[in-house]
């Protein structure tokens, strides 16, 4: 959209203020409320924001012990550059619009560390090979009858999950009915904002819900997920409830972020399967995604809390495996049907950054294509409880960071500067946890994790 078109759009929707949104490395939605003249007047290079905005952790502490070249030597500004194709009407506030931005320098140049920019770059690289990516996320979260203020006063413990029973169950009509007032409001606002959704259901954990979306291009899919997380937070605030996207808020099941993706060619034909079944491209793609999965675990499971989810027989994968319709493997491959052919990557935790998670998965696939990597033997058995000769995925934030540091494929495709900064940020997270005095042997979610992740992730 150019400036006249923007003005026309703002007039027609009576929008006088725009909330800008950008997603940090830790998946925090940040931005500003901008008035219309300022928004329209800064379309080309965006509006300013402290460079610390892209260099701070979940708790808002700046990253002061490592560096990236986008930062100015004496602290300064960067910009949030709006992507005008993402401009939408709020629906609740009649004069408010929302627009998703990317972090750029003050002169408008891309910053490699911006998660959205990185995902766009991966998508474009795949496009140069003649393929388009379709992707979607399964969003899992926990819902409580306590307001955020009340939950905070309780230290986020002993909350009242939105559930009909104390037994863990799934697809249960009674559980779902308890969540329906909240979800009805969510769906209403989604539809006002023209954000597509497909279905929702109660999940296995107490108060756990899953929301599904139709496939879209990667950036749109990630944009939508970030918007929905914020929208759900707002609905929870308005209804005196609380919702959390932290991976493991309570004993029992945890929240994942299963990521489905597929490739189609320029004529929209599936690239993963053809009339003869699985294509060589699919096998190389699986080979690359699995070859890099140990390194990408760092991004797919980004927090201390993410790793509480990774235990055998509790739904997430624990091995570097793939299999047809195998939900106990890291990659569930669906290749028996041409039209729905896809890969479901089942490792990501719900607290993952959707831009980074998908970017690293696509980077793995690209590595597979570029280096013609072959996948390991298909897993036609259960992926949990396997003998020790099946190597396990990293089980701590530091081990995952170390695995990423050893991954030359991801460094090559993602960029060494981004990988190095990310590793430093995970070491920072690890140090923050341990130096806060948290018990490293605690088998339960700690106060530190609740305080850091429950409301902010």
């Amino acid at each position: 959209m150019d400036e006249p078109t923007i003005n026309d759009w703002l007039d027609r929707h009576h929008v006088e203020r725009i909330r800008t949104h950008a997603t940090t490395l830790d998946s925090i939605d940040i931005g500003k409320y901008v008035n219309r003249p300022k928004f329209v007047g800064t379309l080309q290079n965006g509006h300013s924001i402290s460079d610390m905005a892209l260099a701070m952790d979940v708790s808002g502490s700046p990253h002061l012990t490592f560096w990236h070249d986008f930062r100015t030597a004496h602290l300064g500004d960067i910009h949030l550059k709006p992507d005008l194709d993402t401009l939408i009407w709020d629906g609740i506030d009649p004069n408010l619009g929302h627009c998703i931005c990317e972090f750029v320098t003050t002169s408008g140049e891309e910053i490699s560390l911006c998660p959205r920019t990185l995902l766009r770059r991966m998508t474009n690289e795949i496009a140069t090979l003649g393929y388009e990516v379709k992707a979607t996320f399964e969003l899992e979260f926990f819902l409580y009858n306590n307001s955020f203020d009340s939950a905070r006063r309780r230290g986020y413990r002993d909350l009242e999950p939105v559930t009909a029973t104390t037994m863990q169950s799934i697809y249960h009509a009674r559980n779902a009915y308890r969540a329906k007032p909240f979800m009805d409001e969510v769906i209403k606002r989604l539809e006002w904002q023209r954000l597509e959704w497909e279905s929702w259901n109660d999940e296995g954990g107490l108060g756990q819900i899953e929301l599904n979306f139709p496939p879209a291009d990667p950036v749109t899919a990630a944009d939508r997920l970030c918007r929905v997380r914020q929208l759900m937070y707002e609905v929870a605030v308005d209804l005196d409830m609380s919702v959390t996207f932290m991976a493991h808020p309570s004993p029992g099941y945890s929240s994942g972020l299963h990521i489905h993706h597929s490739l189609v060619d320029t004529d929209c034909n599936p690239a993963f399967v053809d009339d003869n079944g699985r294509t060589p491209l699919l096998l190389n793609w699986i080979g690359g995604v699995l070859e890099t999965i140990r390194g990408s675990t760092s991004v797919l499971c980004p927090t201390i809390n993410s790793y509480r989810r990774l235990s055998e027989f509790s739904a997430p994968p624990v091995t570097q495996t793939w299999g047809e319709e195998n939900k106990s493997a890291a990659l569930r491959v669906i290749s028996h049907t041409k039209n729905a052919a896809r890969i479901e990557h089942r490792l990501a935790a719900s607290d993952a950054n959707p831009y980074l998670a998908l970017a690293f998965i696509l980077a793995g696939g690209l590595a597979g294509l570029k280096h013609e990597l072959e996948p390991p033997e298909e897993l036609n058995i259960l992926g949990w409880g396997l003998p020790d000769d099946y190597e396990r995925l990293p089980r701590t934030i530091l081990k995952a960071a170390e695995a990423l540091d050893m991954d030359d494929y991801l460094k090559e495709i993602i960029g060494e500067d981004v990988v190095e900064y990310w590793i430093n940020s995970r070491k920072w997270e690890w140090l923050s946890f341990h130096t806060s005095g948290a018990d490293p042997d605690s088998s339960h979610t700690t106060d530190w994790e609740y305080e850091r992740y429950f409301e902010l992730i």
Binding site: L64, F66, W67, H434, G437
Partner: protein, 208 residues
């Protein structure tokens, strides 16, 4: 005999920090003698939280693991953030000789600030975002040392005890600058680089 200091797999920071301290202290021959004749298991635990480290000393080797091992002869309770605060030791009556040696082991002197500065520079000068030239000034000795080459030097200014601590990798430079115990003249980029390099020493990622 060279004393070996090893840590458990995936060790938490506290274990790594103490391993670094021991490696540094044990560079002195008299410190090596202290360890080579000691056979004990002792633990250090925080008076404020769940952080703890167990050190097994056997056959001239120090093995560090997190937590308080049940077979510890001696348990020292201390404030890790304030090592000068009073400590409490249990087990010293049953193991008086070991307790005496452990006390000595925990109070082994660090190299002086000038030696630490040379070591720090040798280990970190090629690390990312470390400035090309650094001048370190010790205020109580009224003495400066410069390292590297360049037109402008990044300056680090402090008392000898603080410099010994930070240059040995015991404390993060950033925290001391923010806390006013160290003065610093330079860019944010270089402060980040120096702090990260010090952190690598602290965690045993850089050896010298």
């Amino acid at each position: 005999m060279t004393v070996e200091v090893v840590t458990e797999e995936d060790a938490p920071p506290l274990v790594r920090v103490f391993a670094n301290r021991f490696r540094l202290s044990l560079q002195r021959p008299q410190s090596q003698d202290l360890v080579s004749s000691l056979e004990t298991v002792f633990s250090l635990k925080s008076t404020k939280n769940a952080q703890a480290v167990t050190i097994t000393v056997s056959k001239g080797k120090l093995e560090l693991t997190h937590g308080v091992a049940p077979n510890s002869d001696i348990v020292v309770s201390m404030d890790f953030d304030n090592p000068k605060a009073s400590t409490h030791m249990s087990g010293q009556w049953r193991h008086p000789f070991a307790a005496y040696r452990v006390g000595k082991l925990l109070s082994l002197p660090l190299p002086n600030w000038a030696d630490s500065a040379k070591r720090f520079w040798a280990m970190t000068c090629n690390e990312p975002n470390v400035p090309a030239k650094v001048t370190i000034t010790c205020t109580d000795e009224d003495r400066s040392l410069s390292f590297g080459e360049g037109e402008t030097a990044t300056e680090i200014i402090g008392r000898s005890a603080v410099l010994e601590d930070v240059l040995a990798g015991n404390t993060l430079m950033l925290h001391l600058v923010i806390g006013g115990k160290l003065r610093y003249r330079g860019t944010m980029e270089h402060l980040a680089g120096l702090s990260q390099a010090g952190q690598k020493i602290m965690l045993g990622e850089l050896h010298g």
